[in-house]
């Protein structure tokens, strides 16, 4: 047991001739809050999409709780045009669809909020309970699963209460204010009973006060639900306050990683964000 919950090795994602993520390796340990930062277009969301099975990485592998979850190598047309390294290192193709990965215990939120906008707040959370319920179409249709159904409803309701959203349960998700939608998306992800939560820019579009609240909120859910959190974020206040470790990505490549202090003072990080002047 090496203690890490997520380990990605040599993840490379190439779209046509574009290297979105180039040979990225990282580890997230149990109970940690880890941030992935980098300038716009650095490949952060693509890395998330690779880990959650939305994209099949071109090369590399991902372990979850020390078990191989995803592995791929350049195949088909990509064999010819592959520009990354470690082309021959991986030989297996292990793919899981996003729903299977969620079932393993990785939940995520999205950069541009993706709620079920025509459904109520309660239903949004309730959906997450569907995958683990013991039922089939017949028992569900004729309510022979009422025990399961009641359990699902109860758990969803408990979750909403813990998130102080119980009073909103019958509101249509799409009509909620932006900040609450973000929180609902996190609540919905929590409802899948994850071990690891991936947050894609949770503070996007929030003002400093809301960001501060979010910081506390993230810490709190980590403790309440014994979670490990891996997030993409641009708000440096939030990142520096909350993260145990930070990975910095630029043009698809990992440029450095370490504690917030170390990263903050790293010249390469400063260069990546501010650019290097021509005559330097």
């Amino acid at each position: 047991m090496s203690g890490n919950i997520l380990r990605a090795e040599n993840i490379t994602m190439q779209f046509g001739g574009v290297m979105a993520v180039d040979n990225l390796s990282l580890e997230v340990n149990e109970g940690e809050i880890v941030a992935l930062i980098g300038p716009n277009g650095a490949g952060k969301t693509t890395a998330f999409n690779c880990i959650t099975g939305v994209y099949e990485p071109t090369n590399g592998c991902v372990y979850f709780c020390d078990e191989l979850m995803l592995e791929s190598y350049p195949h088909g047309k990509m064999k010819r045009i592959y520009q990354g390294s470690n082309a021959a290192k991986y030989t297996k193709r292990v793919t899981l669809s996003p729903d299977k990965i969620t079932k393993l215990g990785i939940a995520r939120t999205f950069q541009n909020i993706r709620l079920f906008s025509s459904m109520t707040v309660f239903e949004n959370v309730l959906i997450a309970k569907h995958m683990r319920a013991k039922q089939n179409l017949l028992t569900a249709a004729f309510r022979l699963n009422y025990a399961e159904e009641n359990r699902m409803r109860r758990e969803a309701m408990e979750l909403l209460e813990m998130q102080n959203m119980a009073h909103l349960k019958n509101e249509i998700a799409g009509s909620l204010p932006y900040g609450i939608q973000r929180r609902l998306e996190i609540a919905r992800a929590l409802a899948t009973d994850p071990k690891l939560l991936l947050l894609d820019e949770p503070a996007a579009g929030m003002n400093p006060q809301e960001t501060q609240e979010l910081t506390d909120f993230i810490r709190q859910i980590r403790d309440d639900y014994h979670l490990t959190i891996f997030m993409i974020e641009h708000h440096m206040d939030l990142v520096m306050q909350i993260s145990d470790r930070i990975y910095v990505l630029d043009f698809g490549k990992l440029i450095t990683h370490g504690t917030p202090e170390a990263v903050q003072n790293d010249q390469r990080v400063i260069d990546a964000y501010l650019g290097v002047s021509e005559d330097a």
């Binding site: 939305v54 996003p98 969620t102 079920f116 025509s118 179409l137």
Partner: protein, 355 residues
């Protein structure tokens, strides 16, 4: 208003409606157009709800409904023609190969199962496609099915391009009503179950649904099969209503008509589809019929009125709904006793507050 009271009143209302329909059948002459409208309307309501389950609730834009109805109709016909009549029906094919017949109910269920089975088969490849590609692929599938059932080589089973007839039909309007109510009832139960929620999640956002652990392929196929099952039952009912089956009548225009019913009723509303089905059939077969006959007011001949004008006016109305009332009659809401109760309560309450 409590949920229980709502349920009881809805059930009573449905029962009263059923009684009214039976009474109409008793009092009206058997050939009265209203009865035709009621029979055909309730069959179309069933098929429209089945299409709505797929297009409205799961967000899969499929245009294969006529194909699945055809499969249902043929399955029913092939299985239920009495053995004694097979020789005359299959006169060009030595009496056919099926030499048994099953009771009506078994035939109906078999119709649904066969349609669902075909849906499962075609769903494997086709459901991976995105919106409009799915539409055109399912439309194509319906055309293939139609050609297939008219194929001479299968004549011993399908009677080729000849009619299938002499299978049991219904006399009373109660039969199609009962079947429709049961089928729609089951569909409503499914829509309101955990699986129905999963379907709606897929409609709202596929990627988020998948991230919530919903297996897209499995649930889409499930919705497709359920929808096709009931389309198959609807096809069998239509065959009973028409008393004969011919593959050539299950054209894509039939699918379009059902789609328009769904749109008029409101995509995502079961009650909307039901109401729209009756309105659609009533206006196309009955209320607008006067447009098809020449009319004189005094010596003045009203222009334009002649055979076919009804359908033109009708399609203009349909276009108007599609363009200007995009949400249809019901939008995605449902007609319910509780809804009406709350509506009046609100109005009443507001008046009281104004005082």
């Amino acid at each position: 208003m409590s949920k229980k009271a709502n349920g009881i009143i809805s059930a009573l209302l449905l029962l009263a409606l059923f009684g009214l329909v039976l009474m109409l059948e008793r009092t009206l002459p058997p050939t009265h157009i209203a009865l035709t409208v009621l029979k055909k309307g309730c069959i179309y309501a069933l098929v429209a709800v089945s299409m709505n389950l797929l297009n409205g609730f799961t967000g899969l834009f499929s245009l294969g409904q006529a194909g699945f109805m055809l499969i249902g109709a043929y399955t029913y016909g092939i299985l239920t023609i009495p053995v004694a009549d097979r020789a005359s029906v299959y006169q060009y094919f030595d009496g056919g190969i099926v030499q048994f017949s099953v009771p009506v109910i078994v035939g109906l269920i078999a119709a649904g199962i066969t349609a669902a089975f075909f849906a499962w088969l075609i769903g494997l490849p086709v459901l991976r496609l995105k919106s409009d590609y799915l539409a055109i692929a399912t439309l194509g599938f319906a055309e293939i099915i139609r050609a297939f059932f008219q194929w001479d080589k299968l004549g011993r089973l399908t009677n080729g391009s000849n009619l299938l007839r002499k299978f049991p039909t219904f006399n009373s309007i109660a039969f199609p009503f009962l079947v429709t109510v049961v089928c729609i009832g089951i569909m409503v139960l499914i829509i309101n179950s955990s699986y129905g929620r999963a379907f709606r999640a897929i409609r709202d956002d596929e990627i988020a649904a998948e991230a919530m652990g919903i297996n897209l392929a499995k649930h889409k196929r499930m919705a497709f099969c359920i929808s096709s099952f009931f389309a198959g039952v609807g096809g069998a009912l239509l065959a009973m209503y028409q008393t004969s089956i011919q593959a050539a009548t299950f054209r894509s225009s039939m699918t379009y008509e059902i789609l328009l019913i769904v749109v008029i009723g409101g995509i995502g509303s079961v009650t909307g589809s039901c109401i729209a089905a009756f309105l659609f059939i009533a206006s196309s077969e009955w209320w607008l019929r006067f447009l098809d006959t020449e009319m004189y007011i005094g010596s003045f001949k009203v222009p334009l009125l002649r055979t076919g004008f009804r359908k033109v006016v009708f399609s203009v109305i349909v276009m108007a709904v599609v363009l200007f009332a995009r949400r249809g009659i019901m939008g995605d809401r449902e007609f319910s006793v509780a809804g009406i109760y709350n509506f009046f309560k609100k109005k009443f309450g507001r008046k009281e507050a104004a005082k």
